[in-house]
């Protein structure tokens, strides 16, 4: 007896990376270019405003405490929990995968709320000079990507509750995890640039 796959020409059979993973990798490649442009904006504006590259004089200096460092640790921790979820479903442990993904979602939302709270404490806005514009553009776009990741994680949790993932079939988990790690790496670059590269 032949399966449906056997009837297809050789070039149409599943081979190599699953299509969703290839799509996600291509999407991330485009995102690298996008954030590359944003970082170029940052360094260009910084080079133009030599000696005055800081928050407005009415606002306090950017500090990693009490908010920026804790939310960075939260986001870093979420990458670990995401990967624990991937490893769990590779073992076929659906319950552990769902719980790790749910924890990742909670940490991601905690990061977003922390960032929103940070915005209320900064003392400057997006229209307060080039520094304010670049700061909010960079962190805002990153926050939007975290939100996009949170939407993906929510879909994973909802599908996991219905038992849609298994040891053999979990490509969506792999794809979302790659995206989540990417968003995490971008934040490390952003955090280092904004807070350490004075």
């Amino acid at each position: 007896m032949h399966s449906a796959d056997d009837a297809l020409p050789l070039s149409h059979r599943e081979a190599g990376l699953p299509t969703p993973l290839v799509g996600m990798l291509l999407f991330i490649a485009s995102e690298v270019m996008f954030f590359g442009g944003l970082f170029a904006t940052y360094f260009n504006a910084r080079a133009i405003h030599v000696g005055e590259w800081r928050p407005p004089s009415s606002a306090p200096e950017l500090e990693i405490l009490p908010i920026a460092l804790p939310i960075t640790i939260v986001l870093l921790a979420s990458s670990f929990t995401m990967q624990f979820g991937v490893w769990a479903i590779r073992r076929g442990d659906q319950r552990a995968m769902r719980n790790w993904t749910l924890l990742t979602l909670v940490l991601g939302v905690a990061f977003l709320l922390g960032q929103v709270y940070d915005y209320t404490q900064l003392g400057f806005g997006i229209s307060d000079g080039a520094f304010g514009t670049v700061f909010y553009t960079l962190t805002g776009f990153h926050g939007a990507h975290v939100f996009g990741g949170a939407v993906g994680l929510t879909i994973l949790v909802a599908r996991a509750r219905q038992g849609q993932f298994s040891r053999q079939n979990h490509v969506a988990v792999e794809a979302i995890s790659i995206y989540w790690h990417f968003v995490d790496v971008v934040w490390i670059a952003l955090f280092s640039t904004l807070y350490f590269l004075r």
Binding site: A4, V109, T120, T154, I155, R161, Q164
Partner: protein
Amino acid sequence: MNDTAFGYLLLAIGIGSVLSIVYAVTSHIGSPTTRPRPPRGVHLPNPSALPVIMAAGGALLGIGLAFRADDQPVANPFFAVPGLIVFLYAIVAWVRAAGREWDETERGSHDDSPGH
């Protein structure tokens, strides 16, 4: 609570609401195995000007957001409004075109002969 804090509170509520809707919709859709599978064979979308139209609309919208006068708080409406309309039109038209192509493929009106 000042206006800024209230605005960010609304944002936080919005995040929670959107995630809740996503969860509810995903749970409602059910397993992908119950969704219709695409017909066998190779299917390419028809030639279309919609990507160019969408890009033009997006560019107009961007111009409207970037080049605004001091008394225009958000955007220059002469560019942003037509840009937004063209952009949204292109999205709707593209989704409808994709739906039509799917239906045509399911009905088998495409050329599915071997060797292409």
